[in-house]
Symmetry: C2
Subunit: 182 residues, 2 copies
DNA sequence: CACGGCATGTAATAAGTTACATGATTTA
DNA sequence: TAAATCATGTAACTTATTACATGCCGTG
């Protein structure tokens, strides 16, 4: 039945960003980092090919902007067809939600590792959570009056992130006792 | 520099499961579903090829178990080399933690969708969270005296899941007001 | 008799990551 | 002078998903 529906890939996310406003591949990555970071990650290696593909499909158009002292910029703009395609894709999206965590894998098998490494992983994860919290708080400060769903998405992440920071911190304090009998 | 370190893929996870006890591909999938579900997903399409590959590398051995009235079973067992390889892989694992959420994507752009679909997605996500909670609670009930890290991994997920169930439920109650002015 | 569970696998496809490749400007 | 920012892209590789393929057994 090979149905192409339900997919939300880098291509569609780029289209979504362009529906918010015109921008370059470089700027789209910035947007990913500031607004999608908590639920989607993409690098240049997937963004640039995505934009080429969107261009080929006529879903975006492009203008080259020459800049003084800086490399040329290619500003992409969503077309009417692109906007329609995005809304359609969004409407047929299956709302999956999938975590892939090497950190939790490592924790699952923590008893096979030296306590020092477990602590290191916890500390590293904690700092990542804290960085994410900062990121989310900053986004909340910057975009007042964001669409309600965008706000939901950020608050959703913020809530769980703050709970987890707390959880990991408490666990780190109890660690010595837990690994003592190893 | 193409360094193969830091990876935790289906192959290594299978090896990890086999370090806990001998089992078949079918049973490994069961283990994935009951114990890794909250941080890693894998289907037969990745588990069976992973086992063949492990066998080729000599990291596991296999015995075919004939069963009455049921299809034959291939019971895999980790070898000494396999155990060493897993511990080494674990020790060199970079503790990433990556979410990929079509659900949050959809929410981010909720203002482009009819309220009914947004509500549907929320309801669906809520039921997934509730199912996950049940899964985690059941695991907690079944495996008393699990290694401390395994317990951490479950509690970590349980904490955030319960907070999020609450959050989504509260949001669902406020939804009508938020979408009223659309 | 249909559906779910048990049980194993392959092949085609899709998708994203990493490294490579380049090069000017600004800041510490 | 080293590093970070700006700026764009390609190619090889790795990985996982999906669909396909098969077939018996037990339950309702």
């Amino acid at each position: 039945m090979r149905c192409g529906a339900g997919v939300m890939d880098v291509k569609h996310l780029c289209l979504g960003v362009l529906c918010v406003g015109d921008s370059s591949g470089y700027d789209i990555k910035k947007y990913f980092e500031s607004s999608f970071r908590h639920f989607f990650v993409a690098g240049y290696g997937s963004i640039y090919p995505a934009l080429s593909s969107l261009l080929k499909q006529g879903l975006v158009s492009v203008k080259t902007q020459h800049q003084e002292r800086l490399p040329d910029k290619k500003i992409y703009e969503v077309t009417a067809a692109g906007r329609a395609a995005f809304e359609e894709a969004l409407a047929s999206t299956v709302p999956r939600h999938k975590l892939r965590s090497e950190f939790l894998t490592l924790m699952h098998f923590a008893h096979l590792l030296p306590a020092s490494q477990v602590e290191g992983a916890l500390q590293l994860h904690l700092s990542e959570l804290q960085a994410l919290r900062e990121n989310l708080l900053q986004a909340n400060r910057q975009s007042t009056a964001a669409p309600y769903g965008e706000q939901f998405s950020r608050d959703y992440a913020l809530l769980s992130t703050e709970a987890l920071i707390d959880f990991v911190q408490r666990f780190l304090q109890q660690l010595p006792e837990k690994t003592a009998n190893t």
